[in-house]
């Protein structure tokens, strides 16, 4: 055990001291806030030069010189063909043609421009005209705006999950508020995080094993440590690096978001006072409060705990395969033909995520969250929706047994692979190595 520790320590320190590790660990959590800041900055400084849109409106739906987004509508009596020439020469941006309309059957509305206009502009103009037609219809049908408003009903259903754990000593079953949007987002986030780590750190293991083989340092080391111990030390060492990275990310993200919400929270409150009415401020406060409450419905401790189990399980399962591949091949090019079949279940997990998130209790979802090659990602996707404990227990047991099997399998390939170079590696040969009794 102490020897596995020595291998682990070297592997860990070598990787953690690397500049690339330090940079990616610090910069990755910053990428999203930086991206947001840049987008906001670009949007706010965007040149809003007014563009002219010629208005050929036979119904007087839109008034002359109406400003809309960063456009201005100017009434025109020119012929459409002349206006088209103006557009083509770039003198005006576009033209809106509204023929005489039957308000109950409006069609033949046209917008002309040189380039394809943005979706915002088109849908904006559409709703502008739709509102105008609505007003006309209300007049025409002699309706009353007030009673129309009364007809409108908005409901928002609150979802509760029923759980006997929540009943505090009484016979009653407890309920807590749940939120499927949050569950969806959280499930996707957790699953994706595991996917990313398994992939990136799996290939680190492959690279590391391969480096030892090609630099021929491996035989020097296995004269004082068993090959399986060396493999375990490497897998654990790389795993510890992954853990460190995710730990730092959690700390960075938490502190950045706390800091920014403190800073921007006060700032936005001051600015919104000018623009927004008191009611709107209260509304936005409600929304923020709602989001906090929604996250409050998720058992954070349990989620983190289960996440760590599947994180480790998935990492060891795939890490073992990557280690075996790294030991067998002589260079990275040869490795790709073996990494592809290993990567397929990981990629497939990501594709199945939609199925699981939309129907977390379907048979396919249950199977995929039990099957060891997909369970690390897909059980995490299911978890936020609430999973029966016995599903979790079975899934984790299957995963643990599979990890043990995978490490044993990889160890048998590894012991032969690291000392063999120059032979063409086929699945048949790998099988021969696996069943070889004495090596």
């Amino acid at each position: 055990m102490d020897k596995i520790w020595i291998i682990l320590e070297r592997e860990y320190l070598q990787r953690v001291k690397k500049k690339s590790f330090i940079l990616s660990t610090i910069l990755t959590p910053l990428i999203f806030p930086i991206f947001i800041v840049i987008t906001v900055f670009v949007l706010s400084t965007e040149e809003s030069e007014e563009r002219i849109i010629a208005l050929l409106d036979s119904n007087n739906f839109i008034e002359d010189s109406t400003k809309f987004q960063n456009n201005i509508f100017l009434k025109s009596d020119e012929k459409i063909s002349d206006i088209q020439n103006l557009i083509d020469d770039g003198i005006i941006y576009g033209a809106l043609e509204i023929p005489k309309l039957d308000i109950y059957n409006p069609d033949e509305l046209r917008f002309y421009s040189k380039n394809v206009p943005g979706g915002d502009l088109i849908s904006g103009i559409e709703s502008l005209i739709e509102n105008k037609i609505r007003e006309l219809k209300i007049q025409d049908l002699k309706l009353n705006e007030e009673s129309l408003e009364k007809l409108r009903t908005r409901i928002s259903m609150e979802t509760y999950s029923v759980d006997s754990d929540l009943s505090s000593g009484t016979n009653e079953v407890g309920v807590k508020q749940s939120n499927s949007d949050v569950a969806f987002g959280l499930g996707y986030f957790n699953g994706f995080l595991i996917y990313m780590f398994v992939f990136i750190y799996g290939s680190f293991i492959l690279q590391s094993v391969l480096d030892e083989k090609t630099s021929k340092v491996v035989e020097v080391i296995i004269s004082s440590i068993k090959p399986t111990q060396l493999m375990m030390g490497k897998v654990l060492g790389v795993g510890a690096v992954a853990f460190t990275q995710i730990f730092i990310w959690i700390i960075l993200v938490t502190s950045i978001s706390t800091f920014t919400s403190m800073y921007f929270g006060i700032n936005s409150y001051e600015t919104t006072q000018i623009v927004q009415s008191e009611e709107e401020i209260n509304n936005s406060k409600e929304v923020v409060k709602g989001i906090y409450e929604m996250f409050g419905t998720i058992d954070i401790k349990k989620t983190v705990f289960i996440f760590l189990i599947y994180f480790l399980g998935g990492f060891f399962l795939y890490g073992a395969f990557f280690a075996a591949i790294g030991s067998a091949v002589d260079n990275l090019q040869d490795a790709s033909q073996f990494t592809l079949p290993i990567s397929l279940p990981i990629i497939a997990s990501l594709m199945f995520m939609g199925i699981v998130l939309n129907n977390p209790e379907g048979n396919a979802s249950i199977f995929l969250s039990m099957f060891p090659l997909t369970s690390p990602i897909l059980m995490m996707a299911r978890l936020a929706f609430g999973v029966p404990d016995w599903h979790l227990v079975i899934s984790i047991l299957i995963l643990i047994i599979s990890v043990i099997f995978a490490l044993w399998f990889a160890g048998r390939i590894y012991r032969v692979g690291i000392l063999t170079s120059g032979s063409k590696i086929t699945y048949k040969l790998l099988w021969k190595w696996f069943i070889m009794k004495n090596y």
Partner: protein
């Protein structure tokens, strides 16, 4: 010290060792000789339990070898390398710790070896900045850093220039004086005469020769003599045959004579010197290469 009994080993497609036994005495240098692919590396890997034998057993001090014994061996494989991205000191610490050494012992021992191998202190140097000879020295230090009683070196001199090879030879002899047992393998048969006390030759997975170096040489001595003389020598039906004769200068010939079975070289000498002046006279001693070829031929004929 080390006793290898009837080891056989087969790989997927060929037999590497066929019933090979070796005895290595404490405090001696043992040479394992043979051409490339003969099975030397397989034998050494089996002793170090890097691979397992199909048949046979290995004893160390009359007891079956255990994994703890193996850990104490100072083993330098033929396929050797260093972590390029590490510092020399970190690597030596890593290797020392794997051998069960404390940090302080590693540092002390490395400092001693830096001195023995006549290098300045490379502790802080990056391994990727070392020359080939320098990294070979670091490799050697990492092999003996834990002061092992048994040192096994697979092709230790490949990669060393002659000066460094001599330095290593000198250190191996010094280690022998200290009572260490050293086993090394080489395919360069001619280079080992002066170094090893005992040797074994392996060819095509079988041991073809085994014994004390001096005895092997004495036994292999042929009845062939090289003479320098002033006039031509003719073959003598009773005593000797002339194998070859070259004229070196106007009055000097060099001849290779083969003495007939059961005849004394004194008779041949007096017979020739009757009318020919002998300038020099020496018995031809074969080198290891000749002995190896002789043994291989014998094996074919037998």
């Amino acid at each position: 010290m080390l006793s290898v009994r009837n080891i056989s080993k087969s790989y997927v497609d060929h037999k590497a060792l066929d019933d090979v036994s070796l005895d290595i005495r404490k405090g001696s240098i043992f040479g394992l000789l043979g051409p490339n692919g003969a099975g030397k590396t397989s034998m050494i890997r089996i002793i170090n339990q890097i691979i397992n034998q199909d048949e046979g057993e290995i004893f160390i001090d009359q007891k079956k070898i255990t994994y703890d014994d193996v850990r104490k061996i100072g083993y330098m494989p033929e396929e050797r390398g260093l972590y390029k991205k590490m510092k020399v000191g970190d690597f030596l610490l890593f290797m020392g710790k794997l051998k069960g050494l404390s940090r302080d012992k590693c540092i002390d021992s490395s400092a001693d070896w830096f001195e023995n191998l006549e290098v300045s202190n490379w502790w802080k140097k990056n391994i990727e900045d070392l020359s080939k000879g320098m990294s070979q020295k670091v490799q050697f230090i990492s092999t003996v850093i834990h002061n092992p009683d048994l040192i096994i070196l697979d092709e230790p001199f490949s990669g060393f220039d002659p000066v460094n090879a001599n330095l290593v030879k000198k250190n191996l002899l010094r280690l022998k004086e200290e009572g260490k047992t050293i086993i090394f393998s080489t395919h360069r048969l001619e280079s080992v005469d002066e170094l090893c006390d005992h040797l074994a030759m392996i060819n095509n997975s079988k041991k073809i020769l085994d014994g004390n170096t001096d005895e092997i040489k004495m036994n292999a001595k042929s009845d062939t003599y090289i003479l320098k003389h002033d006039k031509k020598i003719e073959s003598n039906d009773q005593l000797f045959d002339v194998i070859s004769q070259n004229k070196l200068s106007r009055n000097v010939y060099e001849s290779e004579l083969s003495l007939k079975k059961g005849k004394s070289y004194r008779n041949m000498f007096s017979e020739i010197s009757k009318d020919i002046e002998i300038i020099s006279f020496e018995q031809k001693v074969p080198n290891m290469n000749d002995i190896f070829i002789m043994k291989v031929e014998e094996g074919k004929n037998g």
